[in-house]
């Protein structure tokens, strides 16, 4: 047997051993203590999803004009867009959440519920970060493409709609996936203002029953599965994948 094959076999034996050990350890975790809380935890995960989906939805709707204004807008509008985007991006997400929950009521004179503050702040964060992803996508389209389209007689809107946008969307996809995953993880910060998202729900359960290892495993798995699903869903929209397959 060649030394290379021996090495490969040893490697897989090692992997199998680690997996077996992990599975065995997981089997002995405090599942019985956690079991009664499954619906509570699942609901909380759903709540995290709802936060992420709303924030991403509102975020994209706001980010798109914001990015377009930042790239194509007249000077004044452009500067306003830059200020807005950079103000959010240059401050910690947790601070934005606190501002919306604690400072906004002071400014507008009415209470804001924790849930609404969470939705609002996450949407603002999503809009700012996604605007930059979209802007990068718009800039990624070579000038030659725009010149070719203009020289053929297409007007500014048509150049944007038929040449810039389709290429920009395709080019921004990897960055978009990364940003959406980051946003999903950011939803965990709203636990600081008392929203019962997945992160908080796991912690609450942990304080009620003694099952830290099982719960941390659930916590990790919940976020991992969610973020992985986002990656897959967005990729499914990639025209390049359909093209090559």
């Amino acid at each position: 047997m060649s030394s290379e094959r021996v090495q490969t076999m040893l490697w897989w034996c090692g992997v199998a051993l680690v997996c077996a050990f992990a599975a065995e350890s997981a089997w002995h975790l405090e599942w019985a203590a956690v079991a009664p809380s499954w619906l509570f935890l699942l609901t909380a995960l759903g709540r995290s999803w709802l936060l992420a989906v709303v924030a991403i939805g509102v975020g994209i709707v706001v980010a798109f004009p914001l990015a377009v204004l930042r790239v194509y807008g007249p000077a004044g509008v452009r500067h306003a867009a830059v200020t807005l985007i950079e103000a959010v991006r240059a401050t910690p997400e947790l601070m934005v959440i606190f501002w919306v929950y604690f400072t906004l009521p002071y400014l507008i004179g009415t209470q804001v519920s924790a849930w609404n503050a969470a939705l609002g702040s996450l949407s603002v964060i999503a809009a700012a970060y996604l605007a930059e992803v979209i802007r990068a996508g718009l800039y990624s389209v070579p000038v030659g493409q725009i010149e070719a389209a203009r020289s053929s007689g297409l007007n500014a809107y048509q150049v944007f709609r038929f040449i810039v946008l389709p290429q920009a969307l395709r080019n921004m996809l990897p960055a978009l996936i990364a940003q959406l995953v980051a946003l999903f993880k950011t939803t965990s910060l709203v636990y600081a203002i008392g929203v019962m998202d997945f992160f908080r729900a796991v912690n609450v359960t942990k304080n009620a029953v003694f099952a830290p290892y099982a719960l941390y495993l659930i916590l990790g798995a919940g976020y991992f599965v969610s973020c992985f699903a986002i990656t897959r869903v967005v990729r499914w929209f990639d025209p390049r994948y359909q093209l090559l397959e």
């Binding site: 070579p142 030659g144 493409q145 010149e147 070719a148 389209a149 203009r150 020289s151 053929s152 007689g153 297409l154 007007n155 048509q158 038929f162 040449i163 389709p166 290429q167 395709r170 025209p239 093209l243």
Partner: protein, 242 residues
């Protein structure tokens, strides 16, 4: 067909077009040559207002380019071919050709497609209609780019160094398409270093240096009896190793 009147243009401190006067008649094939940075590409790009001029005027097909409010209408009549092809990578070859006729001219889809197929046949690659630009060689891409410009049935064709980005063995196939066009009577303005093409096809060769038109004339006169020292020096450099 195209007339430059005392055209000036600056890029910052650089005076790229310095008092350009030039008349190009319908059906004429004009080759513009000169050292890099002499302003020849800029001159070409001013014709369809990809670049704005500072002063003077350019009249194309009776329309003042600098002041017209309907620049897209003018651009529809002026086809352009670029050094880097600039095919739309997200569209098939056929869709590259039909996009502008569909959106600008409002041609019916079936008509646009049949015109596109005729043009692809004319440039010798009808079998590539369904291909993606990335699947074509450089020479094929440039021929598609020419067909795309022709799909708008323009009155004028502009070529901005159309063979400079090509491997040597692909230059000929592109030049042949251009020669065919010239023979069909197309008005053409060609920025190129292909002096063989200029000699065979051009009605006139224009030499630029430092933002000015230094010298111009019919190719047989231009290549053998250049008067200006700069023209002689330039021709000496590019013709010496042919």
């Amino acid at each position: 067909m195209i007339e430059f009147r005392h055209v000036h243009k600056h890029f910052g401190a650089l005076h790229v077009l310095n008092d350009i006067d030039l008349r190009i008649e319908a059906g004429e094939v004009v080759v513009i040559c000169g050292p890099s940075g002499s302003g020849k590409s800029t001159l070409l790009r001013c014709i369809n207002r990809l670049e704005q001029i500072d002063s003077g005027d350019i009249v194309v097909d009776g329309i003042s380019v600098a002041t017209t409010r309907e620049i897209t209408r003018l651009r529809a009549e002026v086809g352009m071919v670029f050094q880097r092809f600039n095919l739309y990578p997200h569209l098939s070859v056929l869709d590259n050709l039909t996009l502008a006729p569909l959106k600008v001219r409002g041609v019916a889809r079936a008509k646009a497609a049949s015109t596109a197929m005729e043009l692809l046949t004319r440039v010798g690659i009808p079998e590539k209609a369904a291909a993606w630009p990335a699947q074509l060689s450089g020479g094929q891409q440039q021929r598609v780019a020419i067909a795309r410009a022709l799909a708008m049935q323009p009155k004028i064709m502009l070529f901005d160094e159309p063979t400079s980005a090509l491997d040597p063995e692909m230059i000929q196939e592109v030049l042949e398409v251009m020669i065919m066009l010239a023979k069909d009577g197309m008005t053409m303005v060609v920025v190129t270093h292909e002096m063989g093409f200029a000699r065979r096809v051009a009605d006139r060769v224009v030499f630029m240096d430092d933002g000015r038109i230094v010298e111009q004339g019919a190719p047989e006169v231009f290549f053998t009896q250049a008067k200006d020292a700069r023209t002689q020096a330039f021709l000496g450099k590019i013709l010496s190793h042919v």
